[in-house]
Amino acid sequence: MRIWLEKQLHLIDFTLASLARRKSKNIGLLAVYALLVFALASVGLFANALRSEASFVLASSPEVILQRLVAGRHDLIPPGYLEKIGRIRGVQKQEGRLWGYYYDAVVKANYTFMARPAEEIAPGSIAIGATLARLRGLAPGNVISFRAYGGKLFTFRIASLLSPDAELLSADLVLLAEADFRAFFDYPAGHYTDIALSVANPQEVRNIAGKLSQALPDSRPILREEVLRTYQSMFDWREGIMLTILAGAIFAFIILAWEKAAGLSAEERKEIGILKAIGWETGDVIRMKLWEGLLVSLAAFLIGFIAAYIHVFYCGASLLEPVLKGWSVLYPRFTLIPAVDGMQVASLAFFTIFPYCAAVLVPIWRAAITDPDSVMRA
């Protein structure tokens, strides 16, 4: 065992000396390799962290949301619907919700207005998300006016700011009293935007959705599991889009690595010839090159992955932010809670380490089994 270990250390020493002879070329390759792993790992870690955050946070969203559709479009819930739902067995609680969108021409941004009970928000005041407060330079106690769609100007006092910890959910939220909401949007009395339902037995959610569709054929129930599924597929898609954009870089790297690994330089051929002439066995040459591939690819993977982790979770994914932010005027400030998917790391490690080692081995094996004299003369 000791002899075997000593032999491997000698092989690594020799490999490192051989790599050092083409220092600039190999450092360049390692840098590009690590950068590629960094880009792929950053996208993967970011999407995975957002996906797990969405599934944690939205697990507390309502079990069923009931919308009404008119000509395929979301429409207001008319009076009488809440009572009809109350008669369906298994529905524990039903609550008419009032919410809508408002376009603020001052900063060219859309806000989400949501009505809350009077005991939570006093009439004439509002609670706003931290992102919105930052954008408009508002603090509790300030006053802000919004021109309603009807043309009338409404003035509100900022009662409080929503927790900055929850900016990911509340960037554009404006909470106001129900009476203010109805007056501002000129909402007809007794109408609601949609209905949130609680179901006594979670196993019964699908059955209740079926009963709702039968009792109110113009309604569309949206289940919590569909909300969660939407976010799962959304981040899969986003990850896919980013990887598609990166595909060009990946292929460029594959060509570079193949060129470097598969096409042996005259110097490397000569080196193999000399090694064989002085008594090295084919197995030793292959082992040496295997160490070379393993050292380079493992180092690139470790550097790239660790840098990506620090970038995403400790530097706020600053390089990815412009892509996600797009044209958003209101974009929340949020830090992602580290989440690593073992399968994701294992596949990234496999696809970065294994192909490079394989690409190194094939031409070396071909060169190592030929006659040393012809290899040196070639």
Partner: protein, 111 residues
């Protein structure tokens, strides 16, 4: 005594692997601040009945993708192209794109 280059490189790689293990631990044990942040988000979602993350605010179907109606992409007129830039990053919800079940002979009302 000068350290052998093989031992030096293997130690560095070992250090890298140990760091990878530490990152794993870091990810599986969120800090108190992270836990507090997540609980604040959960509480707000529960209190207000929120269904979506506020990442894109251009259109109702990008602000609330899970609540998008069946004609969200055609919001301006039938067969209209979906034209907001975040539409390139955001797919239609799965529920809108999955093919409908074969219903012939199963419906109670005429098709």
């Amino acid at each position: 005594m000068k350290l052998r280059s093989s031992l030096l490189v293997l130690s560095l790689l070992g250090l890298g692997l140990a760091l990878l293990g530490l990152l794993w631990l870091d990810a599986s044990h969120p800090t108190d601040a992270a836990r507090q942040q997540r609980s604040a988000r959960q509480k707000l979602a529960e209190r207000l009945g929120l269904t979506d993350l506020s990442l894109f605010m251009e259109a109702r179907y990008t602000r609330h993708p899970s609540q998008a109606d069946l004609h969200a992409a055609l919001q301006d007129h039938p067969a209209a192209f979906e034209h907001f830039p975040s539409g390139a990053l955001l797919p239609p919800p799965a529920v809108l794109t999955e093919s409908h079940a074969y219903l012939a002979g199963k419906t109670t009302s005429p098709d």
